[in-house]
Subunit: 352 residues, 2 copies
DNA sequence: GCGGTTGCAGCAACCGATTGCAGCCATCGT
DNA sequence: ACGATGGCTGCAATCGGTTGCTGCAACCGC
C-alpha cells in the first residue's frame, strides 16, 4: 500500500545511488550486485539487495536502456484486433514477455504492407525486436528488416526468418480423414478471404485425403470471414450436392449453420459441418460439428521466447540461425459426427 | 530505401552531435533548434533542420526520456482483447497516439482489479499516463492511481477521474421510445454478465420510456455475452409473453435470433429485436433489427487526447480538473421494425 | 553616444544507470 | 616470507540528449 518512500529525499523515486549509500557501497557495486550478482561477494550482494528492497528500488527503464541499448520493449504487429484469432496471440505474447520483465508494444498493421513497414520503421530504435503476425510485406523486405532488428514471424512461413505457424493443414487433413472414414466423398470448402496466404494450403490439406479416397473437394468463395458470409454461402453450398462442408472460419460456420437451419437442413443428419478454428466455441457447443482448436496463446508465447533467443544471441555476437516452429492444433467436437445421408443432402424445396 | 547513412561514422545511428557538427553549431543549439524552435534564430534553425534531414537524424527515445521524464508511451488497459468492443477502442487510441508521436502500450487486465493494479504498478515509471477501459478497481484505488500518473477512464464514470463514456443508455432510451411508439408494452431485456457496471443502467434506460407508456420491462439473465447465451435465453424469453426483446450485446442477439428462427418465431412479425451494440453488423444486415452503433474508435481517440491534456497540464504545474465526455451512439437498422403481433408472441407449440 | 534591454548561442552540469580499468587485499605456491 | 594470482570494489568515462546560466553583440530610447 505505501509507496515505499522510507529513506532518502522523500517524494523522489529511489535511485541506485540511494541504494548504494544505504548499503554502504559504491554505485557501481550496487549496479553489479543487482544486475550481475555473480560478480559481487555474497555478503555485499545481500546488503545491496536488502537496501534495494527496503527503499523499493526499481531500475529506471530509460536510464538503463540508454547504456545497455535494450529497451525491454518488443513490438508485436497484428493485421487487426477485430479478428478474434489475434487476441489470444497478443495475450500469450504479453504473458511471456511479462514473465521476463519485458513489455509488448502492440501495433495494428491493418493488412497493409506499407503501413506495416511504416510502423516498424517508426519503432525501430524504440524496441528490441519485432514479431509480425501474418505480415503482408514481401519476403525480401522482411528479410531486410530482420537484418536491422531480430524478427519472428507468426502464421506465415518463409526462409531466413524465424517463424511460428499452426498446423491447421494437419488439422484439416484429420477432419478430411474423419469425413472420408464416415463415408463422405463430396465435401465443400467455404474459402477464406481473397488473397489469404493460408487459404490454398487449407484447401490442399483437405483435398489430399479426400481425393485419395476417390472423393472431391468443391471450393466456394472467396468469402470474407464473417457471419454474413456463412449465410450467403449456404445457398451456394446446397447447389453443390456436398454431404459435408468445411468453413474457413468459425464465424462463417455460425452463419452457415443459421441459414441451413432456417432452410430446414439438419446438421449433421443431412449435412456434416466443420471449421478451421474454434474461436466462437462451436466445437464445444455442438458436438456434431468438428472444429479445430488453435492454441493461439502458445503461438504468442513461443514467438516471444524465440525472439528473445534471437535478441540475446545477437547481443552475444553470434547471429542465431532462424528456427521454424509448428504448433499442432486439436480436433474438437465431432463426437456426434454423422455419415452422409443416403441420398445427396440438399432437399430441392429448401432452395425456394 | 537507403538507411540514410550519408555522413558521419557509418553504421552508427546519427546523434545530435553529428547534426550539430554538420550545421556548424553547438549541441545545445541543435537540441533547441529541433525541439524548441522558437528559441533559435530562423537561419540557424533551418541549417540544423537541413542537417538533421540529411543524415536522417532521429531522437534517441531513451536518452530523451531520461532527461525530460517523458517516455512517449501511454498504457492502455483493457479487460480483454477477445471482446470485439475493445478492438476499435485500441485502434482509435493507437491512431491518436501515433499522430502526436506517442505509442500505446496495450495491456490486458483480464477483468481482475488486482491484475489491473499490478500492471499499472509495473508500468508506473515506464509510461506517461494510463487509460483504463472499463476498469474493475475501486474508485478509491483509481483515484490514488491518478495521483501518481495522469489517468483517463473509458466506459465507466467516476468522480475525480476524467472519463469517456458512451451514451448507450441514451440509445436504449431511443430504442424503447421506438418500441413504445410502435405499440409494444411488454419488452424483455436479456441482461449482461453478472457484476456488469453498465447492466443496471441499460435496464433503467429501457425501463423509463416503457413504464411511462404504461408498459413493463422483463429482465432475463444475467447471461454472459455470447452466442450461446442468446440461444439459451430464447426459451426463457418465450415464456414471458414479451413482444420485443433487447439484448445486452449483439453476439447474444445472433444466438437469440438463431434459436428463435429454429423455433419458428418470425422476426419482426412475431417478435421485435434490438441490441445495445453493433459489433457483428446485425444492424446493417437485418433492417428489421435495431442496433446501436457505438463509435468505439472515437472513444479511444478522445481518451488519448484527454490524457495528453492532463499530462501536459501536469508538466506545466497546474493540475487539470477532470473532465467527463459522453459519446453519442447511433441507432441503426430498425427501418423495418414492426408493431407487436395482434396476440402475444410465443406460439405455445414452439416451446415443445 | 551611452547604459540598458533583448535575442541568440555556447559551456557545462545533469538525468540514472553501465562498464573498462585500476587498485586493493587475501590467498596461494614455492 | 615474498611475489604472483585472482576475487572484489571503486573511479571515472560514457550513453544521447536537455537546460540553467553566462556571454556576446546588436539594437533600443533618450
Amino acid at each position: 500500500m505505501t509507496t515505499g518512500e522510507i529513506d532518502g529525499a522523500a517524494g523522489r523515486a529511489p535511485r541506485l545511488a540511494d541504494v548504494a549509500r544505504i548499503a554502504g557501497v559504491s554505485v557501481s557495486t550496487a549496479s553489479r550486485a543487482l544486475s550481475r550478482p555473480e560478480m559481487v561477494a555474497a555478503g555485499t550482494r545481500e546488503r545491496v539487495a536488502a537496501a534495494a528492497e527496503r527503499v523499493g528500488f526499481r531500475f529506471h527503464p530509460s536510464a538503463r536502456a540508454l547504456t545497455t541499448g535494450r529497451t525491454g520493449l518488443l513490438a508485436l504487429c497484428v493485421p487487426t484486433l477485430a479478428n478474434p484469432l489475434y487476441a489470444p496471440v497478443v495475450e500469450g505474447a504479453q504473458r511471456a514477455a511479462e514473465e521476463i520483465g519485458n513489455e509488448i508494444l502492440v501495433v495494428v498493421g491493418e493488412g497493409s504492407a506499407e503501413r506495416e513497414f511504416g510502423l516498424f520503421e517508426r519503432l525501430r530504435d524504440q524496441v528490441d525486436g519485432f514479431i509480425a503476425v501474418r505480415p503482408h510485406g514481401g519476403e525480401r523486405a522482411l528479410a531486410d528488416l530482420r537484418r536491422g532488428k531480430p524478427l519472428v514471424v507468426v502464421n506465415r512461413r518463409m526462409r531466413g526468418v524465424s517463424s511460428v505457424v499452426f498446423d491447421t493443414p494437419g488439422g484439416l487433413r484429420e477432419i478430411a480423414e474423419r469425413l472420408t472414414a464416415l463415408g463422405h466423398r463430396r465435401v465443400a470448402y467455404i474459402g477464406g478471404p481473397e488473397g489469404s496466404w493460408m487459404d490454398p494450403m487449407r484447401r490442399a490439406a483437405l483435398e489430399w485425403p479426400l481425393t485419395e479416397a476417390g472423393g472431391t473437394v468443391v471450393t466456394l468463395g472467396p468469402y470474407p470471414p464473417t457471419f454474413e458470409s456463412g449465410m450467403d454461402a449456404a445457398g451456394e453450398l446446397l447447389t453443390t450436392g456436398s454431404t459435408a462442408a468445411v468453413a474457413y472460419n468459425s464465424m462463417t460456420l455460425l452463419g452457415l449453420l443459421h441459414r441451413l437451419t432456417v432452410l430446414g437442413v439438419r446438421v449433421p443428419d443431412d449435412l456434416s459441418l466443420a471449421c478451421a478454428d474454434d474461436l466462437t466455441g462451436v466445437g464445444l457447443a455442438h458436438p456434431d460439428i468438428m472444429a479445430l482448436h488453435v492454441p493461439a496463446q502458445d503461438a504468442g508465447e513461443l514467438a516471444v521466447r524465440e525472439l528473445m533467443a534471437e535478441i540475446d544471441a545477437r547481443a552475444a555476437g553470434h547471429d542465431a540461425r532462424p528456427r521454424h516452429r509448428v504448433i499442432p492444433v486439436d480436433l474438437v467436437g465431432g463426437d456426434a459426427a454423422a455419415p452422409p445421408p443416403p441420398r445427396p443432402a440438399p432437399p430441392e424445396e429448401a432452395l425456394a
